[in-house]
């Protein structure tokens, strides 16, 4: 009997079009975003691509050509994309998805170009998120690109957190940058002396201002803060030497030195005076948390773009590999299909493609989530201010009740009369979205970049030797090494795993996760070809393992799930990311199927595209489930001590040979079943010890068993996807130079 897992062969006709992507990533109704994407694409595939092709990446220095690229960004509206229309921008409302799309388009060609465009935003982000209204007005007005008729040069900024070793890196608390009172005239604003050295600072070669994290070196200043420093302030504003980096060379990076006297009004967010001391409104930690929370998502999308950008050049290379050879005449399989005759080449490309889809879906879902969260967060801030609640801790306490209500909502039965009232509560909405964002943001940054870098290596290898040359169409080798930077800056993988360790165990998130698991089971009922069932089982396994680890201890009696125990928490965070990415990938395909049927620009062909993208989902859920199963099994069993031949356990679990002989008389055949037998001379089978039991973990093994059988059909999906990849029509040539 045919099942959906063996549906008709996949026959997607062309690579996914813009219209398909707009539906999947939910911006088909947003003309502002579509225009931004087109605009960023035009700069990427002309100015940027020509620079890369002509070797502009080969210098560490900031060059006139690189500067020209920034001007092209200004002209194309990319620089102003994060500003409101009255500030010089053209998009109203939250802009997380907008920036994500711009970064995606630029990184499709070159990650450094994307970084260069985003770094200015990063410098302004502390001011945007936490600055006073005056600060926000001043620096945005200065940074806005000149309007037609203006000759003004826009200011560029840099964000200075990281310091020379041994100070700030992964651990952002170890600040050596200092701020002191330089003068405090009676009744006037204090003057501050700011000393800061930066390391690896993006945009620094040409920065006119920076936002720098510093800590107090003066009893009259409390805590830490972020300071705005301008190039013309009194003292030293040394742009420093360029970093000799091997990645993202179209962006500027260097190690600047600052020693400047500035007014206290440059403290981001302002300050109050309490007991004769200056108290910044926001610590540097509070500022950077608000900033990175949003900007990290775009970084994750940069790596996603590269994976998807690799598909077309690899297909073209594979197909044309033997053309021109004597035996390969047009019409022959060798001529038409080239390396695509080989199953492995197709399967590996399917893996790269599926990863790119999952990464893009996860990243765009997170960007959209922040667009939803932004206004709700403002509403929450207003409510808190109304209630006179200020400060992180007081706020957390005040939200505890809303968290409980959120969990209640998530576990509520259909038709519960309280539902409407709880849904309408803005604080409940806030904690729901906040808990989700606290997980999805680090997941995007961690998984897209880290796993993305690994998969970029696969993409490079599909091009053979060509892949690791400068001539490789699509610049795949650069994209591979660039992905390593994306995994590093704005918080390396360790930072993201550390954050997930905390946020993925929040009650609200876990309640949400249970709802998602049930949702995937429902999807599986209507769309078995997506692998949603496999995913749901993987999700259950992850949750089971988390709960198990939170209560279990290791062989030495030490607690397993613990902030310091990164060997437990970090892999579990990794496992979760696989699941989240797969879920978003499936949801995007469902959206495409639903909306595409009514969209005249795709209606004719959407069925085939959905079939192919579903197959990619299936391929990916199988891979995700495999990762989860591997990681969880290691964590569940790996902290138990293996029984040894010598310890006590041995006498209770092993048979002696004599004992077996006796038993054989009453239970014929038992001797053949026993594996761990001790001979009269004390010798035993040559292995580590008697086989370990699975007491307490049989539920896990059952789940693992189920997971294995859930994989049914996933390889058939891969075969189908591979067939589609071997037939899909691609353009004659890449639309950017190589």
């Amino acid at each position: 009997m045919p099942t959906s897992a063996t549906a008709s062969s996949s026959k997607m006709l062309t690579l996914p079009t813009d219209q398909i992507r707009q539906l999947q990533w939910r911006f088909a109704e947003r003309y502002d975003l579509q225009m931004l994407a087109q605009s960023a694409r035009a700069v990427a595939r002309s100015t940027v691509a020509q620079m890369v092709a002509s070797g502009e990446r080969n210098s560490h220095e900031w060059t006139p050509a690189k500067n020209e690229m920034l001007e092209a960004f200004d002209r194309a509206g990319i620089t102003a994309a994060f500003m409101e229309p009255e500030e010089g921008g053209f998009i109203s409302g939250p802009k997380n998805l907008a920036l994500a799309l711009a970064a995606f388009e630029l990184a499709w060609v070159d990650g450094g170009a994307a970084t260069a465009s985003l770094a200015g935003f990063l410098a302004l982000a502390p001011i945007h998120e936490r600055g006073t209204p005056e600060q926000s007005r001043r620096y945005k007005a200065l940074s806005a690109p000149a309007q037609p008729g203006e000759t003004r040069k826009p200011w560029r900024g840099a964000f200075v957190l990281t310091e020379p070793i041994p100070y700030v890196g992964v651990d952002t608390g170890m600040l050596s940058g200092k701020v002191r009172i330089a003068g405090w005239p009676d009744g006037e604003e204090p003057w501050l002396q700011v000393e800061k050295r930066g390391r690896f600072i993006t945009n620094i070669a040409f920065a006119n201002f920076v936002t720098a994290a510093v800590t107090s070196d003066d009893p009259r200043i409390k805590g830490s803060c972020v300071m705005i420093l301008e190039e013309t302030d009194e003292g030293t504003f040394d742009h420093g030497t360029p970093t000799k980096k091997l990645v993202h060379q179209l962006s500027s990076t260097g190690d600047p030195i600052f020693n400047l006297k500035v007014p206290a009004s440059r403290i981001v967010g302002g300050y109050t005076i309490e007991d004769g001391a200056l108290v910044p409104k926001f610590s540097h930690g509070e500022v950077i948390e608000a900033v990175f929370r949003r900007t990290r998502v775009t970084v994750g999308l940069m790596t996603a773009a590269k994976l998807l950008s690799a598909v077309e050049p690899v297909i073209r290379y594979q197909r044309s590999r033997f053309r021109g050879a004597e035996g390969a005449k047009p019409g022959t399989v060798r001529y038409e299909q080239g390396i695509q005759q080989r199953e492995d080449a197709l399967h590996r490309l399917v893996d790269v493609w599926a990863t790119g889809e999952a990464a893009a879906s996860l990243g765009f879902a997170t960007a959209r989530l922040f667009d939803e969260l932004d206004p709700i967060e403002r509403q929450k801030t207003a409510i808190m201010a109304q209630r006179g609640i200020a400060g992180g801790r007081a706020e957390l306490k005040a939200l505890r009740d809303s968290e409980q209500r959120a969990v209640e909502l998530l576990t509520m039965r259909e038709g519960d009369p309280r539902k409407e009232e709880i849904v309408a509560d803005p604080l409940v909405q806030f904690v729901l979205k906040d808990a989700e964002a606290n997980v999805l943001c680090p997941a995007t940054k961690l998984w897209n970049t880290g796993n993305g870098a690994n998969m970029m290596r696969e993409a490079v290898s599909l091009m053979g030797g060509y892949g690791i040359t400068e001539d490789c169409p699509g610049f795949l080798a650069s994209k591979w090494i660039d992905a390593q930077l994306e995994a590093t800056y704005e918080g390396p993988e360790a930072v993201q795993r550390r954050q997930l360790t905390v946020t993925m165990t929040s009650d609200v998130f876990l309640a949400q996760f249970r709802v998602w698991t049930a949702e995937m089971r429902r999807v599986a009922a209507t769309h078995p070809g997506t692998g949603a069932c496999t995913l749901a089982t993987g999700m259950r396994m992850w949750l089971w393992t988390l709960e198990h680890l939170q209560n279990a201890s290791d062989a030495l009696g030490s607690k397993l799930y613990h902030g310091q125990r990164q060997g437990v928490t970090f892999p579990l965070a990794d496992a979760l990311c696989w699941l989240l990415a797969s879920r978003c990938q499936i949801l995007d395909v469902l959206e495409l199927e639903q909306r595409g049927a009514y969209d005249p620009s795709v209606a004719d062909t959407v069925v085939d595209t959905v079939q192919f993208l579903s197959d990619l989902c299936h391929v990916h859920t199988a891979r995700a489930a495999g990762e989860v199963s591997r990681i969880c099994a290691e964590l569940v069993f790996g902290y138990n001590e293996h029984p040894s031949w010598s310890n006590q356990a041995c006498t209770s679990c092993c048979f002696s040979a004599v004992e077996l002989d006796e038993l054989e008389e009453t239970m014929p055949g038992i001797a053949a079943m026993a594996v761990d037998v001790i001979e009269p001379n004390g010798s035993h089978p040559q292995k580590a010890g008697p086989c370990a039991g699975c007491a307490g973990a049989s539920d896990f093994l059952q789940l693992q068993n189920k997971l294995c059988s859930c994989l049914s059909g996933s390889r058939l999906a891969k075969d189908r996807a591979a067939e589609a990849v071997s037939k899909v029509m691609i353009p004659e040539a890449l639309d950017y130079p190589a």
């Binding site: 219209q19 003309y31 225009m35 605009s39 509206g77 620009s601 004659e732 890449l734």
Partner: protein, 268 residues
């Protein structure tokens, strides 16, 4: 003096795409044409950029872009084109492609233009491409002109110089890489553009957002036009074939290479 310029510009598949003629139910078509990304017809696009420059020089002038094609595809192309210059869109929804009958296309365009409110025919310059990048019949714009009763027509235009009295000088491409200069007493006139002299304007989403206020309503009210082919039949359709003859020769002296080139040129 002010001008009313109407630019007729269709859409064509992005030239980098694989274009493969196939036999469709209504005559020839391109394989997967609906899925191929489209661009504004490049010849007509130069007409649009020239028109925008001209309009900006004469205050009170207006610019309409009249485009006939599948509405969904037109919308996609507008996301780029509307960022380049300011115009008012008149969209005609039709399943048109490179094989549509030029005469049917021209009459649909002419009715679209005739229905533009506020269009002053005494100020009208009808712009477009001298041919299309899809098939290159090179007759559509002339026919639209005839249907609208405009008989001063120029083809292969690379330059227009407007004078204060409303007359203008036009440079048209002629054989041998030369231009023919003509002076026209004034509007109305038809100008089928070659490449012109202007670069493609940069995308500017701010212009795009301003244009969208009229572009989206125009797309929504786009009239449907079914193009008849009046018994026109295609016997075959194929792409122009690419020719590449390569010979690998090592260590040839520059003089010998030059000599060979000269001989080749002589035989052409």
């Amino acid at each position: 003096m002010s001008l009313h310029i109407v630019v007729c510009a269709g859409i064509v598949p992005d030239p980098l795409q694989t274009l493969e003629p196939i036999a469709g139910p209504n005559g020839p078509a391109l394989k997967n044409e609906m899925m191929l990304p489209a661009v504004l017809d490049p010849w007509a696009a130069s007409a649009l950029y020239e028109a925008a420059t001209l309009v900006s020089k004469f205050p009170g002038s207006r610019l309409w872009l009249v485009s006939l094609g599948p509405k969904a595809k037109l919308q996609q192309v507008m996301m780029t084109i509307a960022q380049k210059v300011t115009f008012e869109l008149v969209a005609v929804d039709s399943a048109s492609n490179g094989f549509a009958d030029a005469s049917a296309t021209a009459s649909a365009l002419a009715s679209g233009i005739a229905a533009i409110p506020d269009l002053d025919r005494t100020k009208l310059l009808l712009f477009g491409g001298w041919e299309s990048a899809s098939r290159g019949a090179g007759v559509t714009l002339q026919t639209v002109g005839e249907l609208l009763g405009i008989t001063d027509q120029f083809a292969g235009v690379d330059q227009i110089d407007m004078r204060e009295d409303g007359s203008f000088e036009v440079l048209e491409r002629v054989e041998g890489g030369k231009h023919q200069a003509s002076v026209c007493a004034g509007a109305p006139a038809v100008l089928g553009w070659a490449t012109g002299n202007l670069p493609e304007p940069h995308n500017n989403p701010q212009i795009g957002m301003a244009n969208m206020r009229t572009v989206m309503p125009a797309l929504q009210r786009a009239k449907q036009a079914a193009l008849t082919n009046d018994g026109q039949q295609y016997l075959s359709a194929s792409l122009p074939s690419q020719q590449r003859q390569t010979r690998v020769v090592r260590d040839l002296a520059p003089d010998a290479i030059a000599q060979e080139l000269v001989e080749w040129i002589r035989t052409q």
